[in-house]
């Protein structure tokens, strides 16, 4: 079954609340136990404003804009991001990251999607693009 896509097509956005529990869960799932992702003192020692989310967590969540659309994640061919700003996650409450996606090109059965990720005013991912197989 092939998927139809056209340049300019807006994909359904994903809003993800990140809490300290989210970070602990990702640390366990990924094996990345860098203390800047759970310890305020460790984050402060590196000059960070607070505990920050794993970049790969933000990157992984962002791809949901694409996989929610195409259904089968096996269609994803490439995915690239720049980590432009850290997502600071408070001890209480959550940091909301909003992900959007737009189809930019469609050629040879492959759609390229441009993604954005924002937390408050900050663009936390830059140059985020994914290529997916449509056929």
């Amino acid at each position: 079954m092939s998927i139809t896509a056209q340049p300019g097509q807006l994909l359904k956005s994903v809003e993800m609340p990140l809490t300290r529990v989210t970070l602990a869960r990702y640390a366990g799932a990924s094996g990345d136990f860098n203390p800047i992702h759970y310890n305020d003192a460790a984050a402060a020692a590196l000059g960070l404003p607070g505990v920050i989310a794993h970049g790969m967590l933000t990157m992984g969540c962002g791809l949901r804009v694409v996989t929610d659309w195409i259904g089968d994640p096996a269609r994803v061919l490439t995915y690239a991001v720049r980590f432009t700003k850290p997502v600071v996650v408070p001890a209480e409450g959550e940091a909301w990251v909003v992900f959007t996606g737009t189809v930019t090109t469609v050629a040879d059965g492959v759609a390229t999607v441009s993604l954005t990720a924002t937390c408050g005013e900050d663009k936390v991912l830059g140059a985020a693009t994914a290529e997916v197989r449509l056929d």
Binding site: Y26, D68, P73, L77, T78
Partner: protein
């Protein structure tokens, strides 16, 4: 001698094979808030695409353990990340990861390091290439 462009092209031996499990796929999908995607459960689940980062990171250990480069993870910032998949990782797959230093640019005490990690099976089937740019700051002497 700290890392320099003389190290571009250096490769490290592949990691011991890691077996992707259904339980780990479930755990990882849940960590991304994406447990509802049916591809990640059922009879023959695939791993969320960015699970490749977990296996790629296993190969980073060799880089940071190389005494000649004098790198520390605590002085490293992950600048960007790219993946190119040949096929998804599936439950039951045995996966090795092998790291190559592609490029090193020095700016004073800061090194911009491009690394690529090839994920493959012990039979040599290529699964994914994970390319990262790292910014490493040398400790003041």
């Amino acid at each position: 001698m700290p890392i320099s462009d003389a190290h571009a092209g250096r490769s490290y031996p592949a990691t011991q094979p890691y077996q992707v499990s259904r339980a780990k796929i479930t755990e990882f999908a849940r960590a991304l808030g994406d447990a509802e995607n049916p591809a990640y459960s059922g009879e023959d689940p695939i791993a969320p695409p960015t699970f490749a980062a977990v296996l790629a990171a296993a190969a980073w250990d060799g880089l940071f353990a190389d005494p000649e480069l004098d790198l520390a993870l605590s002085r490293t910032v992950h600048v960007d990340q790219r993946f190119r998949w040949q096929r998804p990782l599936r439950a039951g797959d045995l996966v090795r990861s092998a790291l190559t230093i592609e490029k090193v640019r020095l700016r004073g005490a800061t090194a911009i390091i491009t690394i690529s990690v090839l994920l493959d099976t012990p039979d040599g089937e290529q699964l994914c290439t994970a390319t990262s740019t790292l910014m490493h700051t040398q400790e003041a002497a």
